[in-house]
């Protein structure tokens, strides 16, 4: 469904939300540790999230990452890493696929995609962080 990089990105964002008490920053080691993602690869993903304005970073000692100070949806995270293909492209790979010129499964998948897009677009990071903080939702294993 999502690329590995995108899976990591979502976990990173959720984790950073849970740590974000009093504007504290979390470092790379901390982050990759918390969601079980390889450190060097995690660094790349963090960079990309910063570039896309979803995270803010600060270098040097006491440096690290924090979530940008505004509501962020799951969709924004997914699009930042995987692009819009998951909510746009034809499931059979047709370049042109619309109700005017549909592929054989167009209608069926429009419904599924709308469902997916709806969830991604209305679920905010702040909505889901509490479960992790309370310890009954997990980011690892």
């Amino acid at each position: 469904m999502f690329s590995k990089a995108c899976e990591y990105a979502l976990k990173i964002m959720i984790y950073l939300c849970t740590v974000q008490e009093e504007g504290k920053l979390a470092g790379l080691k901390d982050i990759s540790n918390a969601n079980g993602s390889p450190e060097a690869y995690t660094a790349k993903i963090l960079q990309q999230l910063v570039k896309n304005g979803l995270l803010q970073s600060h270098r040097g000692p006491t440096g690290g990452f924090k979530v940008s100070d505004r509501p962020i949806t799951l969709l924004e995270v997914v699009v930042a890493i995987d692009g819009e293909s998951i909510v746009k492209d034809c499931v059979l790979g047709l370049r042109e696929c619309s109700s005017a010129r549909p592929c054989p499964v167009h209608d069926k998948f429009v419904a599924i995609r709308d469902h997916l897009k709806g969830v991604l677009n209305t679920t905010y990071l702040t909505d889901i962080k509490s479960g992790v903080i309370e310890g009954n939702r997990f980011l690892k294993l």
Copy 2:
């Protein structure tokens, strides 16, 4: 969503259904042509569909491929090529993710996945071939 190979496989199966008048066989060239997939790669996918019992093949002149003579769902095709990951694995990549030990988005995605699985599991190739035959659903471009 699906791998390229799986996209091809779905188109192959649908196409073969539309050609399947009077038990006629379709050859590799014909098939790859009809859905715009590279010939040699299409051959590999056809082999895999035969191995999985979704197609039957026949060699030699007048040889080719035909859809196995029983109702086949989209899910069977997807699973034959991509495995069950799309309907089984955690979207955040957790090895263990269940209602007993859920990831932060478990509930939201259970609903989406059930929707997807439902469509794949109840849509038969015969249900969708008519649109292609009538010429108002397309497999190419």
